[in-house]
């Protein structure tokens, strides 16, 4: 299937090196990629004529698997790629519902981030579905017991998956 992907900043080799720096006492056995769905929604933040100096744009990021909302800051570059369907996580949140719920969810964050003096009108402008790559890393410890980690291929953060 064809997907719109956020370009990874970390290759699998870089990721392995970064994780190895945390500890030498584990072995990476395998690493696979998985794509996590997000919806990027651009809103116009309208404060009216008198407070127009506060007018701006805000970008909301919706986690389309769990339905979590976040105010987004920077994005990397996007690229269209062809991927096998089993590597792509399904979209579990309806696009229309995600867009409809966003203003309420992020209004407080927008007001805090932009220090707005009153509640703004948040007007939908555009949206774009994209996928972020993560690496699923299979490791073993000294005794050969398996555990897994998840590596964010864009930001370089990683976390234990199931230990």
């Amino acid at each position: 299937m064809k997907i719109n992907m956020l370009k990874p900043a970390w290759t699998m080799k870089d990721a392995a090196e970064r994780m190895s720096r945390r500890s030498k006492r584990f072995f990476i056995k395998d690493m696979t990629v998985i794509f996590y769905p997000y919806l990027k929604i651009v809103f116009r933040v309208d404060m009216g004529e008198r407070l127009r100096r506060f007018n701006s744009k805000a970008v909301c990021l919706v986690d389309m698997y769990t339905g979590r909302y976040n105010l987004a800051k920077n994005f990397g570059q996007f690229a269209e790629i062809e991927m096998e369907e089993n590597c792509v996580m399904p979209v579990k949140v309806e696009r229309e519902k995600a867009i409809a719920g966003a203003p309420l969810e992020i209004c407080g964050d927008i007001m805090a981030a932009k220090r707005l003096p009153k509640i703004p009108d948040i007007v939908f402008e555009e949206d774009e579905l994209f996928y972020k790559p993560f690496y699923v890393v299979e490791c073993t410890n000294d005794e050969g017991e398996f555990f897994h980690m998840l590596f964010d291929a864009v930001l370089g953060d990683f976390s234990l998956l199931n230990a």
Binding site: R22, S23, K24, R25, F26, D30, T32, I34, Y36, D63, Y65, T66, G67, R68, N86, C87, M89, P90, F134, V136, E138, N141, D142, E143, E145, F146, F147, H148, M149, L150, D152, L155, D157, F158, S159, L160, L161, N162, A163
Partner: protein
């Protein structure tokens, strides 16, 4: 008037928690198990408050008031209950339930001991006896409110149970766990206040013992008032064991292990629960003992805690004690109500009526079941079945004897198979019921729990020698559930908060999909 205000504030707070968490429960896993994201503190307190029930405010102290120091045998067992419960089952059950992908404690048994009969029998036993428990708690809530606020029983029942039904219906497991957390704090605070002021009046433990001995020397002995249990070690063993290991057989208690955020939290939960236990368990019994000296000739010993509160504390504090009693009752009733919803929705509706039920349908049916069971129980409680606490002990004993060996062997004994599980459930439950119904405890000197649990274990061990063994893939999972992965130093704390939600999302996807298998990876 003060009681009305304090109780009103408390009930409104419980409703608010229900509404708040209702909005957060978006799928069946979050409604039925809190999305398996319950932290160590909440796990510890919800486990303990669910276990304790109104018995600790009414039944326990009343027993101490009637039998003296003998009742501390129950407290001794109860004090170590959390260590046994979380230590033996906690981590392993959390892991295995996750590997098996189950949401209810009955479904867990069926998947560990795969046989259609496992679920049918376990479901039947659980539904009948948990329902008995729900009924008893509802009745206790109504009776307490009616007695203390001087309002008619039917009004008290409708108000008290209405609040429990509402927040359980609306908020699901998360509301139940969070209300339990606050209720746990209230319960301890209420008990400590009475305990400290009574101790001050009596001149400490020594003063209390001297006064008790002056009244009746057998009150401070270990065989009960008038040495009524002299030499009956079977009764003593039952009294210690019922709360020491009994909780491991209660479905509404063990489901708390399944909802833990991570198996690693089990150790921390164990420490918190044990500390809470030591702060709480002995106090109700000691208050009952102090009541013998401070309020002799009490008509209804079940009211000893409250009478002490009104005698020793200002009215506002006494009202908080009333709220503490309601908390103890409600924290158990809500958990049982929730479990009834889970079992009827997941184990009956999805299993037998609509196998292809969507997540939304399952959540809806579970909610409706919570509502129906709640309303039905209230209606039956209005007719008032006999004896609250006899119903509790009867149900507790039957559930414990039916399920305890099955839950323990599920994670500790690989040879345990469906035949053993079924035999253990039937024999344990029947022995406990027959022992109670025919009054064999007094004839044989064996507590019904003690007798039931011996038969149940024997049936598990003998039954497991016959019939089909458990499939290898399940035994592999049992092995994995018992395996503590030793993480290298430096990796043990790798938990990036930035990607925590994604980590949970990916984990859930990997679990549900065939991704790991298709990519030649080990299952998560």
């Amino acid at each position: 008037m003060t009681e009305y205000i304090v109780l009103g504030v408390y009930l409104v707070a419980m409703i608010a928690i229900g509404i708040y968490w209702g909005k957060k429960s978006k799928d069946s896993e979050s409604y039925l198990l809190g999305g398996r994201k319950i932290g160590s503190f909440i796990t510890a307190l919800t486990l303990q408050t669910t276990s304790m029930s109104g018995y600790m405010f009414m039944g326990g102290p009343a027993q101490a008031y009637k039998e003296g120091y003998f009742t501390l045998w129950y407290a001794v067992g109860d004090g170590g209950g959390a260590i046994f419960n979380i230590g033996i089952l906690g981590k392993r059950m959390r892991r295995l339930s996750y590997y098996l992908g189950c949401l209810s404690p009955i479904e867990y048994l069926e998947r560990r001991y795969p046989s259609p009969a496992t679920r049918a029998i376990a479901g039947l036993i659980a539904i009948v006896f948990v329902y008995g428990y729900v009924l008893a708690q509802f009745l206790a809530a109504g009776k307490t409110m009616a007695t203390l606020l001087h309002i008619p029983l039917h009004v008290a029942l409708i108000v008290g149970t209405g609040v429990i039904i509402f927040y359980t219906f609306a908020g699901g497991y998360l509301a139940v766990a969070w209300t339990d957390f606050f209720q746990g704090i209230l319960m301890v605070a209420a008990m400590i206040m009475i305990f400290v002021s009574a101790m001050t009046q009596l001149g400490g433990l020594q003063g209390m013992n001297e006064k008790l001995t002056a009244l009746d020397p057998t009150l401070t002995g270990l065989w009960g008032r008038g040495d009524m249990y002299l030499g009956q070690w079977g009764v003593v063993a039952g009294a210690v064991l019922i709360y020491l290991i009994g909780y491991m057989g209660l479905p509404h208690v063990v489901i708390r292990h399944m909802a833990m955020e991570s198996p690693r939290l089990a150790k921390k939960s164990l420490v918190i629960a044990t500390i809470w236990n030591q702060m709480f368990i002995f106090i109700p019994y000691l208050i009952g003992l102090m009541g013998i000296v401070l309020i002799p000739n009490l008509n209804d010993p079940e009211m000893v805690v409250l009478e002490m509160a009104y005698k020793l504390l200002p009215s506002v504090i006494a009202a908080i004690v009333l709220v503490g009693i309601m908390s103890a009752i409600m924290s158990t009733a809500d958990a049982q109500l929730m479990l009834m919803g889970t079992m009827l929705g997941r184990d009956i509706y999805q299993r037998y009526i609509n196998k292809d039920a969507t997540d939304k349908q399952l959540m809806f049916v579970s909610r409706v079941c919570v509502l129906c069971v709640g309303v039905l129980s209230t209606a039956i409680a209005l007719i008032q079945p006999p004896g609250v606490f006899s119903l509790v002990v009867f149900s507790f004993s039957a559930l414990g004897c039916a399920f305890l060996p099955s839950y323990i062997c599920a994670v500790w004994w690989k040879k345990a198979n469906p035949t053993g599980c079924i035999a253990s459930m039937i024999c344990g439950c029947l022995t406990s019921v027959i022992w109670s119904a025919t009054g064999l405890s007094s004839v044989t000197g064996f507590h019904e729990f003690f007798a039931g649990i011996i038969v149940s274990w024997a049936a598990m061990i003998i039954g497991s020698q016959f019939g089909k063994g458990t499939p290898k893939e399940i035994l592999d999972l049992v092995d994995r559930a018992g395996c503590n992965i030793k993480l290298p130093a430096g990796l043990a704390t790798v938990n990036c908060k930035q990607i925590a939600p994604e980590t949970a999302g990916v984990l859930s996807f990997l679990k549900e999909s065939s991704y790991m298998e298709e990519n030649g990876l080990q299952p998560v």
